[in-house]
Structures are given as structure tokens and as C-alpha cells.
């Protein structure tokens, strides 16, 4: 079926099988292989992309259902040779080992930081009525907000450091 999807600011007019997930459309049709297929069943977060500003799982999203929507993948974060601050933070903090989960981690972290700046609570926020504050966010909060992205190498401490560093960078700037 005919589907128009905007990916990283480029509009693609595609003729897709209705069974195709967004993940497979990105990788196999558009050649954007930065988005990774981990579990393919919504458990690992490796396939995380940003649709209309929200982080979601591309493995459980039908490509046909993305008609008219804007998808951002890891390929869309950097401005030319200039890395997105979250990409730079992952490099600086060594927030990866094998790198397979990293695109999903970074896209998820970009949104997690935006959510913190919007002040929305997480499961570990003591009182959901409160607005969370980026300056005093605990590691427990970062862990909870990043719990949808698994890392089999166990790079979690450095991932948390990277998110914290990007958060601090944004608070300062």
C-alpha cells in the first residue's frame, strides 16, 4: 500500500506490504541500518526511534500506520559532522561496548532528557504531583527512565553518566 513517511526531514513515498514494521522499512527499504533489530518483540529497545517527538519501538509499529508522520532515526541526529550533544556525551563517557544497543540508547536518552525538562514524573518520582527538576535528578530516576533500553554488555554505569552529562550540559546552556 502507498505510504508517505517523513524520515529525518526527507519525505519518502513508499509502496509497502501492510505487514512491514517501521523497523524493517527503515532498514530494508530505506537502507537506514542505524536502527537495530534486537528482540523484534518489544522487549529490548534497540529499535527505538522518535516519532512526532516521542520515543517509540519501531519493531511494534506498522510502517503503514506512520502515514504523514515524522520519524527521527540515529542518522538524523548529527548536524553534518557535528554530533548531537547526546552522541558526544556517549562518546565522552564511553557509554557503550559493542555498540549494538547504542542508537536506541541515544534516541531514548534524547527524549528522556526532554521529558525531564518538561518536568513529568516517572515511576520512582516520590510524588507524581511534583515537577521533577533536572538539576537534582537522581541516578535512580535516570535508570528508571532508561529501563526500556537493555545493554547486554552491561555499559549501564557509563550510559547513566552520559545521560547525566548531557542533562547537566543542557541545564548550563
Amino acid at each position: 500500500m502507498k505510504t508517505n513517511i517523513r524520515v529525518n526531514n526527507t519525505i519518502h513515498e513508499l509502496e509497502l506490504d501492510s505487514r512491514l514494521t517501521l523497523l524493517d522499512a527503515l532498514r530494508d527499504v530505506l537502507g537506514l541500518t542505524g536502527t537495530k533489530k534486537g528482540c523484534d518483540q518489544g522487549a529490548c529497545g534497540a529499535c527505538t526511534v522518535i516519532i512526532e517527538g516521542q520515543r517509540v519501538l519501531s519493531c511494534l509499529t506498522l510502517a503503514a500506520a506512520c502515514e504523514g508522520q515524522h520519524v527521527v532515526t540515529i542518522e538524523g541526529l548529527a548536524k553534518g559532522d557535528e554530533l548531537h550533544p547526546m552522541q558526544a556525551a556517549f562518546l565522552h563517557c564511553d557509554g557503550l561496548q559493542c555498540g549494538y544497543c547504542t542508537p536506541g540508547q541515544i534516541l531514548s536518552a534524547v527524549c528522556a532528557v526532554q521529558e525531564v525538562h518538561a518536568g513529568v514524573p516517572s515511576h520512582v518520582t516520590r510524588d507524581v504531583r511534583q515537577t521533577v527538576d533536572a538539576a537534582t535528578l537522581t541516578d535512580e530516576e535516570i535508570r528508571e527512565r532508561m529501563s526500556g533500553n537493555l545493554c547486554r554488555c552491561g555499559a549501564y554505569p557509563n550510559i547513566i553518566a552520559a545521560v547525566r552529562s548531557a542533562l547537566a550540559h543542557e541545564v548550563r546552556s
Binding site: 514494521t21 518483540q41 519501538l57 511494534l60 510524588d127 507524581v128
Partner: protein, 329 residues
């Protein structure tokens, strides 16, 4: 995945009609249940009708109630300032489930209609009366550590997996629907989900093609003192072993009224009305809460691996009420 037609319509009545007209059609919302189960052939619709373009994505707030569109995402609802203020247990319940990515996709109606996480339901080679009526239930003598102890039958012991529904049943929410003939109705939340009995495949009290359009929650001032406590095997991204949604209306130390619902231990979102009644007029002490917990779990029926859930659920109830009692308003 089996071949299917993806249908996008603009009007809710057309969507209800489109599903009602085809025996193999299903509504598609966030896809976190349906696409997952289509990949493993547990669900094999020949048509999916997307409910997200139907204009059911807003939360309308009035002094009397909030009306939540069926396609509102779990994140939208949990993060809404009025929901957090009036119904903290609802925000807490939603935020305790799944992950941000999944809550950004999953919708309110989809959460209500999500399918059980029983591993035998998800395995097409296993016997499951819910998936294939009359085939038997491999969970009865199988690995049933995660299974239900309340509302079970000899045909099915599958746990209802939702956290959000536990809060909604405690809040006496109303489910608004639209049928393919254009008529609408309102279903009390407690009547939406069915216990399995001898027809576990009939999970909800909806007609085929009947579309959930809204969930309405009437204002409940007492719900400002409320809590959702979830106990699970790991700290995040895991289904409940036991959970409790509670509302506590206090007059000093005395309980004026209470609400109690349970998750993780029952075949449907479980409202404990008898236990609620027993709390009225009593002192808000741990002993009182323990008495209510005993009443709630009377008649619980465990299998080989899930005995622990009975005591765990009792302690979860006491813990949830104690937290609500201590809440600073």
C-alpha cells in the same frame, strides 16, 4: 505474519462498521499487544482498522469528571497535570507498567483490551482455552508461578496483566462505547472484563465491532489520598506479581470510606468491595488493613507454583493502605 489489510478511516462510526462487517477484522491502536501477537501467529486478523486517526486522542477536563479519548496514550494520561493531581494512583499505576517507549505507543482502550501474558496463551503449540476454546489449559499443571489466585476456573488461570485497569476499576470509571449501528452505551468498568469461567475466550463484555471511544472518571475528592503499590521480580519493566490500588478517605484516624483493587493475582482487574466495606468506620491501623487483606484473599485458589502470591497480595494491600495513610496532602 499473515497477510492482512490495513484500514485507515476518519470517523469512529465507519471504523466500528468496518470491523463489524468482517469476521476476521480487529481494531489496531498502539500495536504493543496486537502487532506483537500477530508476529507469533497468536492473533491472525485479515483486516486491522486503525483507531488512532479517529479523533479520540484528547483528555477533556471538567469540574465533575475527566473524559479520556480511547486513543490517548498511556504517557499522555500518566503525565497529565490534572490526572496527577486528582487521581495520583492512576498516574502511579500507569508509570509502573512497561517502559516510556511502550507507554508512548500504548493507548487507553488498548490497555483495557490487552491480552494476557500467560506463556501458554502466547505459544501456539501449547493448549490454551483462551486462545483455542476447548483445547485445555497447560498452565494448570505447568509453570504457573505468575498465574492468578482469584477469579480462576478449571479452564483458565491467566492473570490480567494491566496496572492501569487496577486503578480504573478502583475509581469506578465508565467505559463509553460506540456500536456499528451508531448507538452508544456506558459500561461500568467493573463489568467490562469477564472472569474466565467455562468461556475463557470471552474476555470482555463488548459486542463484536463495538468500539471503545472514551473512559470517563467522575471526580472523587478522596482519591487525592491514594496509592498504587506494585510488587514484581525486578525494579522496572516487569509485570506485577501482586499490586494494589487504594483510596483512603480519612476523618482523623478513622476510615470514612476506602477503595481497594488488585492486580497481578486475578484473572481480571479485581475490585475488593467486601474488604472495602469492612474498613468503613475503623481505625486506619495496619491491623485493620490486615483484616481487609484477609477478607480479600478469602477463597483464593493457588496452584503448584503460585502459593506465595496469597501472602504477598495481603502484604501488598497493607503496604498500599499504609502509604496512602502517610501521604502528605
Amino acid at each position: 505474519m499473515r497477510a492482512f489489510a490495513y484500514v485507515r478511516l476518519a470517523r469512529a462510526t465507519d471504523a466500528a462498521r468496518a470491523v463489524a462487517a468482517r469476521p476476521g477484522a480487529m481494531f489496531l491502536a498502539g500495536g504493543t499487544t496486537l502487532v506483537d501477537l500477530m508476529k507469533i501467529d497468536v492473533l491472525t486478523p485479515d483486516t486491522v482498522v486503525d483507531v488512532r486517526p479517529l479523533g479520540l486522542s484528547s483528555i477533556d477536563v471538567s469540574d465533575e469528571a475527566i473524559a479520556i479519548g480511547a486513543a490517548v496514550t498511556n504517557s499522555q494520561l500518566a503525565w497529565h497535570p490534572v490526572v496527577r493531581d486528582r487521581f495520583p494512583l492512576l498516574s502511579e499505576a500507569i508509570l509502573s507498567g512497561a517502559t516510556t517507549q511502550i507507554r508512548n505507543m500504548a493507548t487507553v482502550a488498548g490497555n483495557l483490551l490487552q491480552r494476557t501474558r500467560c506463556p501458554y496463551f502466547r505459544d501456539v503449540h501449547a493448549s490454551c482455552n483462551r486462545r483455542q476454546p476447548g483445547s485445555g489449559c497447560d498452565a494448570l499443571e505447568g509453570f504457573n508461578r505468575g498465574h492468578a489466585v482469584l477469579g480462576v476456573s478449571e479452564h483458565c488461570i491467566a492473570t490480567h496483566p494491566s496496572d492501569m485497569c487496577v486503578a480504573l476499576v478502583a475509581l469506578d470509571a465508565d467505559v463509553r462505547t460506540l456500536r456499528s449501528d451508531g448507538t452508544t452505551r456506558s459500561i461500568p468498568f467493573g463489568e467490562l472484563h469477564r472472569s474466565p469461567g467455562d468461556t475463557p475466550h470471552l474476555e470482555v463484555a463488548l459486542e463484536y465491532g463495538e468500539l471503545i471511544t472514551h473512559v470517563v472518571i467522575a471526580n472523587l475528592p478522596a482519591a487525592r489520598r491514594s496509592h498504587y503499590l506494585k510488587v514484581r521480580d525486578r525494579a522496572s519493566y516487569e509485570f506485577a506479581l501482586a499490586s494494589a490500588a487504594v483510596v483512603l478517605d480519612l476523618d482523623g484516624d478513622t476510615i470514612r470510606a476506602a477503595r481497594l483493587a488488585l492486580g497481578g493475582i486475578a484473572t481480571k482487574p479485581w475490585r475488593a468491595t467486601e474488604a472495602e466495606r469492612s474498613l468503613t468506620g475503623r481505625k486506619a491501623s495496619d491491623e485493620t488493613f490486615r483484616d481487609a487483606a484477609e477478607i480479600t484473599l478469602t477463597g483464593a485458589s493457588a496452584r503448584e507454583h503460585n502459593h506465595f502470591k496469597i501472602e504477598l497480595a495481603k502484604r501488598t494491600i497493607v503496604g498500599a493502605f499504609a502509604s496512602a495513610r502517610e501521604a502528605k496532602l
